[in-house]
């Protein structure tokens, strides 16, 4: 176990060193792909929290991502608020919206919960399409201001891809640390206990409903942050953000990478975004290949790529030792 932890720490340190140095030796397009991966990492961490630690499969993640993006864009466009404020507001609004949804949804068992959250994404898209006075409907919002790092209107404006990359990396690292702190706290342990056996956890006095609600709200807040960065990077947002495609990508990252593990989800964000970019060389069969890959991955390593890799590593070392 001790060596495992050492291995894990070394893996993270190596990955961070690589990511810090990446713009030095990668082209602009590759750096852009890394930014996309880091953008997906935030809602993916949220999904990992609710699915991997609280055991509920939510399709609302991308809806919260979209809500965060719209909130951030509208604030920046109407009031010229700085990036940090938009980010906080996006995360806060996403968290607040999750509460009234949580009341009916969290009472349900898994399948009904899945459908309820899926429905929320559909409703959010309908709203984004039809509240034209606020969202400009299908046209979407364009010319969203670039992020400004400063207390108010003055400060460093992020323009180049490299600058965006380091901003995304900083957000990603903060999110990973926040996630780590959360799941190793007593609250995180309660969530795991509830996932494993809700009745048992309740009988031991764990306020199960409250923790499930907390996991749901926190996952929405992660997604809201991601949406805020997304909209300031692409500078456009339209109701297509609520399309099932994005939600599915998120699911693939978390389930393919290794649900309930932190490293798996981080690795999954990079692997599956990279894969989707690589497949762009054959646009005709891109989605077909992606679909086939999903089927192969899910049956080939049902617990995710990283846990599979870790197990392989462990057997190799055991074989070396004997």
């Amino acid at each position: 176990m001790g060596t495992d932890r050492g291995l894990r720490a070394a893996g993270f340190a190596g990955m961070l060193a690589f990511l810090l140095a990446a713009p030095g030796f990668l082209g602009e397009y590759q750096v852009h792909a890394l930014i996309v991966s880091l953008t997906f990492l935030l809602p993916a961490l949220g999904l990992n929290l609710i699915l991997g630690y609280a055991g509920m499969l939510s399709f609302a993640q991308m809806a919260f991502f979209g809500i965060g993006a719209y909130v951030s864009a509208l604030m920046a466009m109407r009031w010229g608020t700085p990036f940090w404020l938009n980010l906080c507001a996006a995360s806060l609004v996403a968290g607040i919206v999750a509460v009234p949804l949580g009341f009916p949804a969290l009472r349900l068992r898994r399948y009904s919960f899945v459908m309820c959250t899926l429905g929320f994404a559909v409703i959010a898209q309908t709203l984004a399409k039809n509240w034209v006075s606020l969202t400009r409907g299908d046209l979407g919002l364009s010319n969203v201001p670039r992020p400004v790092l400063g207390l108010w209107s003055s400060g460093l404006e992020i323009r180049s891809v490299t600058q965006y990359y380091y901003l995304a990396l900083a957000l990603g690292v903060i999110a990973v640390l926040a996630f780590l702190a959360l799941v190793s706290s007593p609250a995180g342990r309660y969530m795991i206990a509830i996932r494993e056996d809700e009745t048992l956890a309740a009988s031991l006095g764990a306020p199960t409903w409250r923790y499930r609600m907390a996991a749901f709200v926190l996952s929405a807040m992660f997604a809201g942050c991601g949406g805020s960065f997304y909209v300031h990077y692409y500078t456009v947002i339209s109701p297509t953000i609520f399309d099932p495609y994005y939600g599915n990508t998120l699911l693939v990252i978390v389930l393919g990478g290794g649900v309930g593990t932190l490293g798996g989800v981080v690795a999954g964000s990079f692997i599956f975004v990279a894969l989707s970019e690589v497949l762009r060389v054959a646009p005709d069969i891109r989605m077909i290949a992606y679909g086939l890959l999903l089927i192969v991955v899910v049956f080939g390593c049902p617990e995710g790529l990283l846990p599979l890799l870790m197990r392989r590593l462990r057997t190799w070392r055991r074989a070396d030792a004997t």
């Binding site: 009916p104 349900l108 009904s112 429905g119 309908t126 999903l294």
Partner: protein
């Protein structure tokens, strides 16, 4: 206006019902949400369109041909993918069927192109009923739905296959011990469910008039709402929930505007689940 709304609602509801009943029986035996279910509806529509446009068959012949094509595809997917979902954790089923949905949708787009196509066929002559003009095709859809639902109730309740289906739905381990060939029941149920979706697609095409590769997604999503409201595994509950949804959608589209129609299913779903977590027709929450 009111009669138009009612007629449209019942027709749309019957279409949903045929797709949803397939999904609900598949869910019963497999405990897996089939995210690709709308794609079989799409394939049914495309099968009929292809038979009419390329092979130049009459519409009446194109329907069984479309269902047969989908049966073959569903059999292949049932053997390759769905059988592996027996006893698998529910997330695996979600991702695997999402993969199937992506493949089917994009293969169709690759073969036939991504643009909208017009469907020429069916009986769209209006008939006068209660002072409103109703096309013959719509009447056919409603009658077909009623006949098929009667048939399914019979199959599920009276035949040996139906009995095994219910047994697998109740307790898969006990079935294995008793020597029931579970993979075969699962594949059979899956093919039956997909054929119903395909039939629904082929029957609806003359009314909707157009088809495209991505048309299945909206159907899948609405079907989820229907089977949860109707109570998962409940055949007659599904029909009632589907009609109810069809009527609500048609009323919203008629009085509020077409753009709000697609959100109705889920506002209704969330509303229903808030009050009755087991669906409209069951006191107990089951899944």
């Amino acid at each position: 206006m009111l009669i138009d709304v009612a007629v449209n609602g019942i027709t749309a509801g019957s279409v949903y019902a045929l797709v949803a009943v397939g999904m609900t029986i598949i869910f019963g035996v497999l405990r897996a949400i089939n995210f690709a279910h709308g794609e079989y509806y799409m394939l049914g529509t495309f099968g009929a369109w292809w038979a009419i446009e390329t092979v130049e068959l009459p519409y009446l012949v194109s329907i069984p041909l479309a269902v047969a094509i989908v049966a073959v595809i569903a059999l292949a997917i049932g053997m390759l993918v769905m059988r592996r979902l027996i006893d698998a954790p529910f997330q695996i089923g979600v991702v695997a069927t999402l993969g199937v949905s992506l493949v089917l949708q994009n293969v169709v787009i690759l073969i036939f192109g991504g643009s909208y196509k017009m469907f020429n066929g069916g009986w769209i002559e209006p008939v006068e009923i209660l002072g409103a003009g109703v096309s013959e095709q719509r009447i056919l859809i409603v009658i077909a739905a009623l006949v098929i639902f009667g048939g399914i109730e019979l199959v599920v309740r009276r035949t040996r296959f139906g009995k095994t289906m219910r047994a697998v739905a109740q307790n898969i381990e006990a079935c294995k011990i008793m020597g029931v060939d579970v993979p075969r029941v699962v594949t059979g149920t899956f093919v039956l469910g997909c054929c119903l979706a395909a039939l629904s697609g082929a029957l609806t095409a003359p009314v909707t008039g157009s088809l495209y590769g991505g048309m299945g997604t909206a159907i899948t999503v609405k079907t989820f709402a229907i089977i949860v409201m109707g109570g998962v595994g409940n055949v007659s509950g599904t029909l009632l929930a589907a009609w109810l949804l069809g009527l609500m959608e048609s009323a919203v589209a008629g009085y509020l505007g077409l753009q709000f129609r697609d959100a109705v299913a889920f506002i209704a779903l969330i509303g229903v689940l808030t009050v009755l977590p087991g669906g409209l027709f069951s006191r107990r929450e089951r899944f």
